[in-house]
Symmetry: C2
């Protein structure tokens, strides 16, 4: 069996464990963690407790004098959402073809079970072939990434000495697009809150009471509309504080990257691209913060005046935007709207992730680019931005004093968090070769 | 056993049949209809087919020369909604106390199972006591009132000769409030539609794609906000066409009705009353049309840019507002908003109910007021408006050529369509006495 087929066989078992950290039982989460320790036997793999879902730990420290790399990833997955939106059952890994590519489909295939598993297989294979590895490895695979890693901070602080390393390399994240190799040198921050509008004490018949009381859905619509100007600019005063001005140099870098807006539009299936004015699409994606309503719910289909309506809002942050300040600004803006007849509350989820950046000339970035260039001869390795959020990066910098290199072999178009999530099969071999090359270069640097 | 206790014993059986016309199986709906035929044995009660849920029919025509009254009601109920919002199981009739009143709680108790059942018990009791009734009675109890009576029109047109009568008396509807007797002389019309906003072909990760595409929830919020001015006036051009100007006489009538806005506010649990400016609360409720968003849904709680968002909208109509014209006006307004990056569709539910009115000096209203006055000596019988919609009224006028008298012993505060629906026990005896008095007066007129 090829290395790729071996990974796929294990990945099918791994994806079959529905480790949805929002709704799975503790037993299911533990089963996923325990399964992973089997893959980590070479490194003393074990499950360790946190105040939430456990983490999986392990270490192979047989290369004295060589650098120590902490491999980070997560074993939890997003909820499946509406099962009818899936072409095949989300927890049955299914090999198929997407846009001409050989892929495997399943919840967690690309985020983050596949990208983690290929690293573990690589380490085992190298150990079997050579009896040693070029660097020391520590492993920290958490079970709460998809819910904002609420207990990872306490765990890492409590185990900082055991996790000491020269660099974190994250198997989470994603290549920007399938057409070329890339390394991400930044990710966006995140804050998250709910806006709840309440009117009467119960849903009211829209005939018998309609017209006499404010409708919370109308009020919520007005609130949500107030969050953006008509042109798409975020209208919350202070929201953009800490967002760096685009330098001419950065504008030039972005302009030099081939980005086909028409193809991107067609890929997403939207009638036209849209967003904050004054910036092209790639610039909006990589350099600009966003405020998105992720969901809204209130009332039902039938003849009521709903008594409550709720929206979930997240902001993705860039540069020096302060998460606390953004939460305070959005909260003040929402509570400052005049809406007669309803009560408005903002429920802060407590999520506070600042934006993250690693400099392009950091030795880890240089090594990673070289390793990727070797796997993809003749192709330029782009320096990209993860427009998503990897909450652990700030934590590792604060507690362990090290930077994090994003080195995932997921690709950003693989339906992360959505129905029909998939992972490109070709990324498995490419990923194993690149990780091996990265370790060699880190050992030599 | 008292007459009231006999009704309650049967009502418990009747409420136990979950005849929710939106979601019950055909078998369950038929079971409710069949159960009702047992109550109508004195009138040859039977189930008759329609293109949807069946109707229950019956007639007692033993009073030649006397007027013929068609008793209308419905055996279907609204969905329960969130079961956790119910204090007791919705399909178990539970005797309890609400605001000091002896009531029975359960889905359909007041809308419309209790108010229908007391009429059937009354007719049986009178027949047992006297061997005859003062008027001829026909019964038409439908199973689709709560879904807009989509098949009642075809049924009534096909059976118009068998349904011939001098007057329809509706056991559906409701007294305006518990503190005095009232007869409703008008009800509002209804149209209903869905607004659907679609962006990308699938939900997108709000980090990896946020800021590059329009968010359908933002667009829907903007659309919904555009439906009203900030002061609560409906902002759809043409919406108010056909709404009668308030005459000084009508203003005076309304001003003469005791209506405690503070008590009403406290009862509904809202921080303040709200609605279209320039009209007091009672006037808004009885005389003004409304446009309400009954529900909204899109995305979820987590980190996505939803690919679609939907709102359900209903308008309650008054006077000469033309249902077709209102649907056209709302549709044109919604589709006329400029919303880059999304597709907007309006799905017309096909509901078209014009407003209804019976003149205060109509002989049936006069007879009904007198009957109520006898049951409530010393109390004034108010002429009220049902701000809800009774779709059958226009149908009976068109096809059978007769007016409908609303003569329900439900009360408008009894949580119609909401959790913890209830029915006041005292209305059972009062209702039976009043229906008997009505029949006597109609026979004498």
């Amino acid at each position: 069996m090829s290395a790729t087929e071996e990974v796929l066989a294990d990945l099918a078992e791994y994806v079959a464990i529905p480790s949805d950290s929002r709704s799975a039982t503790p037993e299911t989460m533990r089963a996923a963690a325990e399964w992973l320790t089997g893959q980590l036997a070479f490194a003393g793999g074990r499950v360790e407790e946190t105040a939430g879902h456990p983490v999986v730990r392990g270490e192979w420290l047989g290369a004295p004098g060589a650098p120590t790399v902490l491999v980070y990833g997560h074993y939890d997955v997003q909820p499946t959402g509406d099962l009818t939106a899936w072409t095949t059952p989300p927890y049955e890994l299914t090999r198929t073809t997407v846009r001409g590519a050989d892929v495997v489909r399943g919840r967690g295939a690309t985020d983050d079970k596949g990208p983690v598993l290929l690293v573990l297989h690589l380490a085992r294979r190298l150990l079997a072939e050579r009896g040693t590895l070029p660097v020391n490895l520590r492993f920290l695979i958490e079970g709460e990434e998809e819910i904002g890693s609420p207990h990872l901070g306490d765990y890492v602080r409590a185990h900082a000495a055991e996790l000491a390393c020269d660099l974190v390399v994250s198997a989470d994240g994603a290549m920007w697009r399938p057409t070329e190799p890339s390394i991400s040198i930044a990710s966006k921050g995140l804050v998250s809150l709910d806006v709840v509008v309440t009117g009467a004490s119960t849903d009211l018949h829209s005939g018998r009471y309609g017209g006499t009381v404010a409708n919370p859905v109308h009020a919520l619509a007005r609130l949500l509309t107030s969050l953006h100007d008509e042109d798409g600019t975020v209208a919350v005063p202070g929201f953009y504080d800490g967002v760096p001005a685009l330098t001419e140099e950065r504008r030039a870098e972005l302009a030099a990257i081939a980005f086909d807006e028409d193809a991107y539009r067609d890929f997403l299936g939207v009638p036209e691209l849209a967003g904050e004015p004054g910036f092209d699409t790639l610039t909006r994606l990589w350099e600009r913060p966003t405020l998105e309503v992720n969901g809204v719910t209130g009332g039902g289909k039938y003849s009521v005046v709903p008594h409550t309506a709720t929206a979930h809002v997240t902001c993705r942050l860039v540069g020096e935007q302060d998460p606390d300040a953004v939460v305070a600004a959005v909260t003040a803006h929402v509570l400052g709207q005049r809406l007669p007849g309803v009560r408005v509350e903002v429920h802060d989820d407590g999520v506070r992730v600042p934006a993250y950046r690693i400099e392009p000339d950091h030795p880890a970035v240089v090594a990673g680019r070289a390793a990727l260039a070797e796997v993809h001869p003749g192709e330029e390795v782009l320096l990209a931005v993860i427009a998503g959020t990897l909450p652990c990066t700030a934590l590792f910098e604060d507690v362990l004093g090290v930077k994090t290199l994003f080195f995932s072999f997921a690709t950003a178009d693989e339906q992360h968090h959505a129905p029909d999530e998939f992972f490109r099969v070709a990324r498995i071999e490419a990923g194993m070769r690149a990780w091996a090359g990265l370790w060699d270069r880190l050992a030599a640097s």
